[in-house]
């Protein structure tokens, strides 16, 4: 099977190991990945601030770049939610757009729903805290949320749990937002930071060693706090955990 890799701009620039881990995970399950180099950004930062006029050409570009592929996989719930839920507001109805929405997946849901993987082989004997990023949770429905009374399959949870030796920590507030929220992180810095610190205290009390999520933006914000406030834990994207190693990036070339 072939799939196009959609790498969010900030992962491309700051967290290459996450993209490599994604390639590894997919490769381990028989998916050949292609990286269309013309891609840059899905337009979410512009759209979220209300500047649809600036987001639209980027959305149009994205549509054209990924048109030739049968599957598009991305290690980010929020970017995929942008494509599947918000491109309708930017682009005219078309069969290409309908097609794009149907074939674009976040990594974990691609594994569980398209590849129908029950579990990942490998061991990860660590205390892992799963942060349920909001877009993935409430827009893509990657898992159940505590405020809804219907249950959904917890896709990320299921994949992580299948790893040998892993201990998923139990939080007081299972799905409260970390406070990143895009430009919110800067425009409402005080609340954003308090929200992030509250998440970290929750994880600390739960005994989390490794904080993970399916969205690197949440982890970027939380890691920023971990580093500055010296919390005793580190972050890893879910792809890195599922790949069995933090990507194939040689230690000297960046990453952590």
């Amino acid at each position: 099977m072939h799939a196009a890799l959609f790498v969010p701009c900030y992962i491309d620039q700051f967290y290459p190991q996450v993209a490599f881990a994604t390639i590894d995970v997919l490769g381990q399950h028989g998916v050949e990945v292609e990286f269309p180099a013309a891609q840059t950004c899905c337009g979410q930062p512009m759209a979220n601030i209300g500047c649809s006029d600036d987001a639209r050409p980027l959305a149009q570009r994205f549509l054209e770049i990924f048109q030739p592929y049968t599957h598009v996989v991305c290690p980010s719930g929020s970017c995929v939610a942008m494509i599947r839920h918000h491109y309708d507001g930017l682009l005219d109805e078309s069969s290409e757009l309908a097609d794009l929405k149907e074939k674009t997946f976040e990594l974990c849901e691609f594994l569980t729903d398209v590849l129908e993987i029950e579990g990942i082989s490998g061991s990860f004997p660590h205390r892992v805290g799963l942060h349920q990023s909001c877009h993935g949770l409430r827009e893509l429905r990657l898992g159940s949320c505590t405020e809804r009374m219907d249950s959904t399959d917890n896709k990320i949870h299921r994949l992580l749990e299948s790893l040998e030796g892993i201990q998923l920590t139990e939080l007081r507030r299972q799905d409260e937002c970390c406070g990143f929220g895009g430009t919110f992180a800067v425009s409402e810095e005080a609340v954003s930071t308090m929200m992030g610190l509250d998440r970290l205290h929750d994880h600390q009390e739960a005994g989390t060693e490794i904080l993970t999520a399916a969205d690197m933006s949440c982890l970027m914000h939380l890691d920023g706090l971990i580093q500055r406030q010296r919390f005793p834990m580190r972050v890893m994207h879910v792809a890195e955990i599922l790949a069995g190693r933090p990507g194939s990036v040689p230690a000297t070339e960046g990453g952590r």
Partner: protein, 460 residues
């Protein structure tokens, strides 16, 4: 007073600045949210009820003029008087006139967000009419000269020590008393006198039944009923959207309302008024005040479904950490951030941005308002009305320019990473770097993913 785009962030920063208090406020509201969860979990058909409630309101709003006329006809048939107010000023004038016609000097009022919206109290006070808010939380904020900070829990931001001090000062309770039971008892005595001496009672309306011409008012304290069953005059104020088509619809809404608001299966009292009581008078004031405008909007129409339960506020991580007063509007939180800009987009421009787009509000809303989606839509509105500052618009324009050109994007990325690696901390974490106040910036790798990927493919 600050307004515009800086308003909420500045107020929120002030609120968060008092760490201990912000944590306490957040914890109190989260607790209410967990009570709601437990109550919702006890109803097997919860998600179905939400869907049905949403449809009932959608149906109502589509046919609102017919249902309003039906309601008026039935209500008048039962002996009530129906008045129509286009805006807040007219609402206040109508209420004042009624009170003056009946020589009313003292009014007791149960919780009505609509009367808050219209600023009725100060208006009546200007005309020498005493208005006492009888809901305990509302009475507390009234005595403090404040506005409520939550639509259901008006005094949620106040500590019992502060209530104790307030009651000592104004009701003569023991100095230093903080026991809620003791304080409530003194409020009971104090307000009982107000009920007994009132010349008229004003209530809000939780639901008005088009089919029967009746009104439903829900309280836990019994203050609405005491307020209108003693004096002869009952004035009930309602927004045009507060109707339900059929009495049977109340079965749906009364199962959702209290559970969503406070986690109770139903409020202690759900009073159904059909016409005035014998020898009494019932006057219903129906108010538009911008609601018909909201109805014309495809995107914002669903905000009229709102039954004012407050569940969105309790779940909102931003509201819990910034407090209701930071919104500077009658109704705070997610729903308030949609309604406020509809009245004045410039003044309330910061509210749709006081949101991390987490989506929890939409999931708890008993009438399925797509709250977080509407907040995002407001951002588009604000941008298209040129209410965003130049710096933001410019930044987005530059962003689009750069991101439309892969080579330029790569170059810009490399430059940014280089700067992050080379610049000293004193420059990087200068105070203009808002991100950097309490967080570190990400570590910048030497090479981007696509550079490494290209290299790897080249090697292969």
């Amino acid at each position: 007073m600050t307004h515009g785009l800086n308003q909420h962030p500045l107020e929120a920063a002030r609120f968060v600045g008092n760490h201990e208090r912000a944590r306490w406020h957040d914890g109190a509201l989260w607790f209410v949210r967990t009570k709601r969860d437990r109550a919702a979990a006890s109803v097997p058909e919860w998600e179905q009820l939400r869907e049905i409630a949403s449809q009932i309101k959608g149906h109502l709003i589509a046919r609102l003029p017919e249902y309003l006329e039906q309601f008026e006809e039935r209500a008048v048939g039962l002996g009530a008087h129906v008045h129509w107010a286009a805006d807040a000023a007219e609402h206040n004038q109508i209420v004042l006139k009624l009170l003056q016609q009946h020589n009313v000097k003292r009014v007791v009022k149960s919780k009505s967000m609509l009367t808050e919206e219209c600023h009725l109290n100060p208006f009546l006070e200007q005309h020498a009419i005493e208005v006492v808010d009888t809901d305990l939380g509302e009475r507390i904020v009234q005595m403090r000269g404040e506005s409520p900070s939550h639509i259901v829990l008006p005094a949620i931001h106040i500590k019992k020590e502060e209530v104790g001090a307030l009651f000592h000062e104004q009701l003569g309770t023991q100095v230093g008393a903080t026991d809620p039971a003791y304080l409530t008892e003194s409020a009971r005595k104090h307000l009982r006198q107000k009920f007994l001496k009132a010349d008229a009672g004003i209530t809000g309306v939780n639901f008005a039944i088009a089919e029967t011409g009746g009104l439903v008012v829900c309280t836990n304290e019994g203050n609405a009923d005491l307020g209108v069953s003693l004096p002869k005059l009952h004035i009930a104020c309602m927004g045009i959207e507060k109707l339900v088509p059929r009495a049977a619809d109340l079965g749906v809404f009364l199962r959702l309302l209290a559970r969503s608001a406070t986690g109770q299966p139903i409020t202690t009292y759900s009073s159904h008024f059909h016409g005035p009581r014998p020898a009494g008078e019932l006057h219903i004031v129906i108010v538009d005040n911008g609601r018909s405008w909201l109805r014309t909007s495809e995107e914002f129409r669903r905000s009229l479904n709102c039954i004012r339960c407050g569940a969105c506020m309790n779940t909102c991580p931003v509201y819990r950490r910034s407090g209701g007063h930071s919104y500077h509007y009658t109704v705070p939180g997610p729903i308030g951030s949609i309604l406020a800009p509809a009245t004045d987009a410039r003044q309330h421009a910061s509210l749709p941005f006081a949101c991390s787009l987490c989506g929890s509000c939409s999931d708890v809303c008993p009438v399925k308002i797509d709250l977080h989606q509407q907040l995002l839509t407001w951002r588009h509105e604000i941008a298209s009305r040129h209410l965003l500052p130049l710096s933001k618009r410019l930044a987005m324009r530059v962003g689009r320019f750069v991101l439309s050109r892969p080579r330029l994007y790569q170059w810009a990325g490399a430059a940014a990473r280089l700067a992050l690696r080379l610049l000293p901390r004193s420059i990087l974490y200068h105070r203009w770097n808002v991100w950097g106040r309490q967080r570190d910036l990400p570590e910048a790798p030497r090479r981007s993913f696509r550079q490494l990927y290209r290299r790897r493919r080249h090697e292969q």
